[in-house]
């Protein structure tokens, strides 16, 4: 069966160039980057070269990059590493669970947490952040782009607020990195999380930017890896892959690939909306990352839609999978104030570098038909048709 993958915000395929770059580090170059001999020197060089590439992508110094196991660890390290009991944290209701649950844990450990709301387009209002400041506020943690709607948050404005108030700003850039150009100095943040597998590197590697001279309490204790900020032998192959993916992302921006991606996304979005009535974009009228489109289809159960499309070869998503794999209503869409019905009828399409125009044609051929079929079977939709 032909299978097309439009769920790149969940994870992305490793690009062939990335796989090629990391392959030697599973065999030929197997050294421990901390060893003093030739083998160690070889992998140390590879790790540091990758660090340079990631630093270049984020606009920071290489020494400010800490490699981690992924976005969740980066978020946890930033939050647990920057606050202590008695501190106040400001975050938002649409953050990833890696941030929300890390904040919840900090709360249990004696911190105070304020969760600012978002508007109907999933935008955080910087004024809400400003008003939430307290004398003991230590950290603001706001994401750069939302994983479900793709909406870009006003992190630069929030950066100014953090600077004025002299509090730390952590930015979860997992869904923004490699999709839009990033400069940590423009954002004026103290920490920024990125994840490898959201940008065509493999699962299991990520990084945290930590501004120079910022004291970070580590999560792990062990050797003095990563300047004592993250103990544990480096995942060399993963780090090399992340470095290569960062390089490819930079080249992509130079070639205007982000704009091409955005045009593809718009074609998909408009193509669907042109064929389907009573549908619309969640987060419309905002700046979004170029690859994400979150569309609601009234009178359609998102869960049934995702399964139907999967059975026909198209992978998309709705909401968040809970531990059993069942779909739970998205906390992001609920926080936007969407009625439960609309939240349940929303589908996320997210593109990756591997997607082609033919992939979109495939989706455009399937989606309207699936919506029509599901509406046909919806008692509520039928009732409405009869009445009108």
């Amino acid at each position: 069966m032909r299978r097309i993958y439009l769920d790149n915000n969940a994870t992305t395929p490793v690009l062939p160039e990335v796989l090629e770059a990391m392959r030697p580090y599973f065999g030929e170059h197997f050294g421990n980057a901390s060893s003093i001999h030739h083998h160690g020197q070889e992998t140390r060089a590879a790790v540091e070269q990758a660090r340079d590439s990631v630093a270049l992508l984020l606009g920071c110094r290489s020494t400010e990059i800490v490699f981690t196991s992924g976005g969740t660890e980066s978020d946890n390290l930033a939050i647990a590493g920057l606050v202590s009991a008695g501190d106040h944290i400001i975050t938002s209701s649409i953050e990833h669970h890696a941030v929300l649950h890390a904040c919840k844990h900090a709360e249990e450990m004696g911190c105070e947490v304020t969760c600012v709301p978002v508007d109907g387009r999933s935008l955080v209002n910087p004024d809400h952040v400003r008003r939430a400041l307290r004398p003991n506020t230590r950290l603001i943690s706001i994401m750069m782009a939302n994983n479900e709607t793709g909406v870009l948050q006003p992190v630069e404005e929030i950066g100014k607020i953090a600077e004025e108030a002299d509090v730390f700003l952590h930015v979860d850039a997992v869904q923004a990195c490699a999709k839009v150009p990033i400069d940590v100095n423009r954002v004026a943040c103290d920490a920024m999380s990125i994840s490898g597998h959201k940008m065509h590197a493999p699962q299991g590697v990520g990084a945290l930017y930590v501004r120079k001279e910022t004291h970070l309490q580590p999560l792990f204790y062990g050797g003095r890896h990563e300047r004592s900020r993250r103990a544990g032998t480096e995942n060399v192959a993963g780090i090399v892959a992340l470095g290569k993916a960062a390089e490819l992302a930079m080249q992509g921006f130079d070639r205007g690939e982000d704009k091409k991606m955005s045009a593809m996304r718009d074609r998909l979005e408009q193509g669907i909306l042109a064929q389907v009535e009573e549908a619309g974009v969640n987060g419309e009228g905002t700046l979004r990352v170029p690859n994400t489109s979150n569309i609601y289809f009234e009178h359609v159960e998102g869960e049934a839609m995702v399964i139907s499309l999967d059975l026909k070869g198209l992978a998309v998503s709705t909401g968040a999978a809970c531990s059993s794999g069942a779909i739970e209503p998205s906390h992001v869409l609920m926080a936007m104030g969407l009625p439960a019905n609309r939240a349940r009828s929303s589908i996320r399409f997210s593109l990756g570098k591997q997607n082609t125009a033919e992939d979109l044609d495939f989706a455009l051929g399937l989606v309207p038909e699936a919506v029509a079929r599901l509406r046909e079977l919806s008692p509520r939709y039928k009732k409405q048709v009869v009445i009108s």
Binding site: E301, S308, D310, L311, C322, G325, A326, L377
Partner: protein, 370 residues
């Protein structure tokens, strides 16, 4: 060669439904595995009287894991669908409300009526399945002469689940497959082994899936506490059949008809709960002879083998899951009400339970005992 269909299998992670999935797959059908996520077992964990961790139960992660492994093993697509909200509204809340009004509910029937044969059928149709197969021990067949779908008892009488299926409509039955209807449990386990299913020896589940340890009183307390609702005061008097007050009780939901223990009164002869008077919060007690009754009224009637009850029908009636169906006359006495008159008085006819009517192996229909 059977006609190949697209079949959704309701997979619970147990031996029965797993074997069903393997069977229909082996027949060459296009099979989709579905597990309903109905109740978050961790929801009440840690509430007073509830275990910290619950494992090996319906909707537990272990069961979903088992179902997923079976789906992988036999090579079918598999999805978990979330029906927690419907389950809470249509099964859990009525379950609590029934107990609090002095009745003894059967959540499994409610779940079959509202979830497994309703919501799951909807999902199945939405994703393109022609019918739904489950691991219930029952048979379904079309009777040309009557022009109706029939629900029949299975070959393995000891596993008969028709009592819980009396609410199925003709439409639901027409889209249902019970592949285990002609098999015994040992045969099912043998077949599971043949298909290489790792869970062939997994023990059967018996209890109500969302009530850990079967302690429904603790469940009700914990559920209401979690909802921040206060337990209504259902305490009242303990009276005899003549209306004589002989004591007090802590709440009608702690009692069920036929109960002997925990009455809190000491008398010379054994006393039983013979009736619960929800409106007056009275628990009526009496000697064993008072437990027997020849009639019952049923409401919420569903008829399967016949379209209507035009005249009194001679049937056998089961008044609880582990009850030997007893001969009785069945007649309609109002629009949605039937009267069952047994040939012999029956012990502990319990409001809230189902009365299911049989004509031999055929389920005529059923109703809720009023």
């Amino acid at each position: 060669m059977p006609i190949l269909k697209t079949i959704a299998v309701a997979m619970s992670g147990g031996v029965d439904s797993s074997t069903v999935a393997a069977m229909v797959r082996a027949e060459g059908h296009n099979v989709i595995g579905l597990t309903m996520q109905l109740w978050n077992q961790r929801r009440l964990a840690g509430h007073e009287g509830m275990p910290e961790q619950v494992t090996g139960r319906c909707c537990s992660l272990d069961d979903v894991y088992d179902a997923r492994r079976v789906a992988e093993h036999i090579g079918i697509p598999y999805y978990v669908v979330n029906h927690e909200e419907r389950f809470e509204n249509d099964v859990v809340r009525p379950f609590v409300a029934e107990y609090l009004s002095g009745r003894t509910p059967i959540p499994c029937s409610l779940c079959n009526n509202h979830l497994k044969f309703d919501q799951l059928h909807v999902v199945a149709r939405q994703i393109g399945a022609d019918c739904v197969a489950t691991g219930h021990y029952a048979r379904v067949e079309y009777d040309d002469s009557r022009g109706r779908w029939l629900l029949k008892r299975p070959t393995d009488r000891s596993k008969d689940q028709t009592y819980f299926l009396f609410g199925l409509t003709q439409e639901q039955l027409s889209r249902t497959l019970f592949p285990l209807g002609g098999m015994t449990k040992p045969e099912v386990r043998e077949l599971a082994r043949k298909h290489g299913l790792a869970l062939a020896e997994k023990p059967d589940s018996q209890e109500i899936c969302f009530v850990p340890g079967g302690d429904y009183k603790r469940f009700i307390d914990a559920y209401l506490a979690e909802r921040r609702e206060t337990l209504p005061d259902t305490a009242g008097e303990l009276v005899t059949a003549n209306g004589e007050v002989i004591g007090e009780h802590g709440g009608i939901h702690n009692f069920t008809v036929g109960q002997r223990k925990g009455l809190g009164v000491a008398t010379g002869s054994p006393l039983y709960v013979i009736q619960i008077n929800g409106a007056e919060k009275q628990v009526v007690v009496g000697g064993e002879e008072h437990l027997y009754s020849r009639t019952l009224r049923g409401r919420g009637v569903n008829l399967i083998s016949v379209e209507e009850l035009r005249e009194p029908l001679s049937v056998a009636v089961k008044i609880r899951h582990r009850h030997e169906a007893a001969p009785a006359m069945l007649e309609k006495i109002a629009a949605d009400e039937v009267l069952v008159t047994f040939a012999q008085p029956q012990r502990a006819i319990t409001p809230g339970q189902a009365a299911v009517f049989y004509d031999g192996d055929v389920v005529v229909g059923g109703a809720w005992i009023a």
